[in-house]
């Protein structure tokens, strides 16, 4: 093999690949530029995921800050979520990072320590946790506490806008209070099986007795034994209702329903949705309506 010929081939190959790379990069850069257009203002606030973003969106209304959310996980829950380069950029530019807390953002433990200047606002401070469960936003009462925690955290960091944050939080919480008033009382003391630990907080708001929690939230493989046990529990204890998530729980819920005739309600766990500021309220309202409907079949 001719040596110079080989070197020419190699250099051409590497240059060609670099050129292709640069073309791809410049396309990428020109696309991302459009997204960065609205980047101005003083404080940059990043939220860890959807319910925190919606809360922060309401609290920071009219305040001159940048608010963004980490990109949404495509999978069921946050636990197995991986940060994208976009997220790492967001975090390294952020001043404040609002997290749900309670262990929900475990995936970030290693990352946060890389940004010692990032101020963390933990929304779950002082909230009475159900065991290891961190889905507090699913209880309207706890979500209201989270709203207050976020508003207080932001006020302490950004004094100039403290009044705005507190006023906004009060307005948002009054809407949530109204929503809380819509929670039906018909379920008090009634037994329920949950197909996601997220609903434990909702069940607490409803004063229901939770018999079993099956966490179908993550892409979990359910064993035949678990299905059989669930069916047995429902039959033996005469449980009238299952609350399940549509995406991951439906298969299992339909199996159990066919076997036992139990009622199934599919509710939103509000971990994703549109970025409208009333979307939490809308999602929770439709949850409550579904529960009211289910109660009326009793």
């Amino acid at each position: 093999m001719n040596k110079t010929k080989k070197n020419i081939f190699l250099i051409t190959l590497l240059i060609l690949l670099s050129v292709i790379g640069i073309i791809i990069i410049s396309i990428g850069v020109s696309m991302s530029k459009k997204n960065d257009a609205a980047d101005h203002g003083t404080l940059t606030v990043v939220t860890s995921f959807y319910p925190m973003y919606i809360a922060a969106l309401n609290i920071t209304e009219r305040a001159d800050i940048n608010l963004s959310n980490l990109s949404e996980p495509q999978t069921g829950c946050l636990h197995d979520y991986q940060l994208t380069t976009e997220d790492m950029k967001l975090l390294s530019e952020a001043d404040v990072f609002i997290i749900n807390g309670g262990g929900m953002e475990e995936f970030l433990d290693g990352v946060i320590s890389d940004y010692p200047n990032l101020k963390i606002v933990d929304a779950s401070q002082g909230i009475d946790k159900v065991e290891d469960n961190a889905h507090m936003w699913m209880s309207i009462a706890d979500y209201m506490k989270q709203v207050n925690n976020i508003a207080n955290g932001l006020s302490a960091i950004d004094n100039a806008n403290a009044d705005i944050y507190r006023d906004n939080a009060a307005v948002y919480n009054s809407k949530l209070e109204e929503l809380k008033g819509m929670i039906p009382d018909t379920y008090r003391g009634s037994k329920v099986v949950l197909f996601s630990e997220a609903y434990e907080y909702l069940a607490r708001d409803l004063s229901m007795e939770v018999e079993t929690v099956l966490d179908l939230d993550e892409e979990k493989n359910i064993s035949a034994k678990e299905v059989a046990e669930t069916v047995d529990v429902i039959k033996q204890r005469n449980i009238p209702l299952i609350i399940s998530e549509k995406q991951y729980g439906e298969k299992m819920a339909e199996i159990v329903k066919n076997d036992t005739g139990v009622k199934v309600v599919y509710l939103d766990t509000i971990i994703r949705g549109n970025y409208d500021k009333d979307s939490y309220i809308n999602a929770m309202r439709s949850n409550i309506e579904l529960l009211r409907e289910a109660a009326s079949w009793k």
């Binding site: 093999m1 790379g21 396309i27 991986q82 790492m88 993550e218």
Partner: protein, 269 residues
């Protein structure tokens, strides 16, 4: 150009860049030896033992699973090496059995309670979350590898050509093969979190395999392999940064393009 330079204003990108600069040559060097000794399947099996390594760590309650991963991989590599030696005729079957057992054992423990998704980051890896401390570990193993290869490259070469002749020249075949297996084990385990179990072997094998397509002597073989590895690492990192996709797969794709190009070129002349 400014946009391009902007990426160096992020600590995580500098860390990732350092990691690529270390992993690249390290993988290239080990890869040349692995390809030469026809151990591609061996290193792949080692990658799979990471499942059991993590599982052992979980059972023992060790918080940093790296220790259990490395410990298990070293033991796994040594046992595999010795059993392989006794049955030289069906090495690929033995490795396959070992890899399957390690994967199955690991999956059994990790899926207990249905929590496997917690560990799915092992499969894909994330080079952007690498920290300074972990880069230091890579640097240490990198230096160890270079020292080992400087001493042992000719021995390794001799062993891979003919182990019996090598032994008759007073080369400590078993010892050198064991050290080599341990180095591969530690390197693979340290890198799995950054490049992912599914792709770690591709990064080990592709640069060396590409280099083998066109090189005529040992120096070219190692040299080209390092160049290919560094090139695909850097290009993959930059491209993945700007178009916002996972880094490992992009690096592998670049390395694969180089492989096919050299394959065609090598076959033509």
């Amino acid at each position: 150009m400014n946009e391009f330079l902007s990426l160096f204003s992020y600590d995580f990108m500098i860390n990732a860049l350092l990691a690529v600069l270390l992993i690249g040559p390290l993988f290239a060097l080990l890869g040349t030896m692995i390809v030469m000794k026809k151990m591609a399947f061996f290193s792949d099996a080692l990658g799979h033992s990471a499942f059991t390594g993590v599982a052992v760590g979980v059972i023992l309650g060790i918080t940093s699973t790296e220790i259990s991963m490395i410990g298990f991989a070293v033991i796994f590599a040594l046992i595999l090496n010795h059993i392989k030696k006794r049955n030289p005729d069906n090495v690929d079957t033995i490795i396959s059995v070992f890899a399957s057992v390690a994967t199955a054992l690991g999956l059994c423990v990790l899926s207990f309670g249905g929590n496997f998704s917690e560990y799915s980051s092992l499969l894909v890896g994330d080079i952007l979350s690498i920290s300074k401390k972990e880069i230091l570990y890579l640097l240490i193993i990198f230096i160890a590898t270079i020292v080992f290869i400087c001493f042992a490259i000719n021995w390794l070469n001799a062993i891979s050509i003919n182990a019996t002749v090598a032994r008759s020249h007073n080369i400590k075949v078993q010892l050198i093969e064991d050290i080599f297996a341990v180095i591969i084990a530690i390197t693979v385990m340290l890198s799995i979190r950054w490049v992912g179990l599914l792709l770690v072997n591709a990064l080990l094998i592709l640069p060396a395999a590409s280099s083998r397509n066109i090189s005529e002597n040992m120096r070219e073989y190692v040299g080209y392999s390092v160049v290919f590895s560094l090139f695909s690492g850097l290009l993959g990192l930059f491209v993945s940064y700007f178009i916002n996709i996972a880094t490992g797969p992009v690096i592998v794709i670049v390395a694969a393009i180089i492989y096919f190009a050299t394959y065609i070129y090598g076959g033509r002349s």
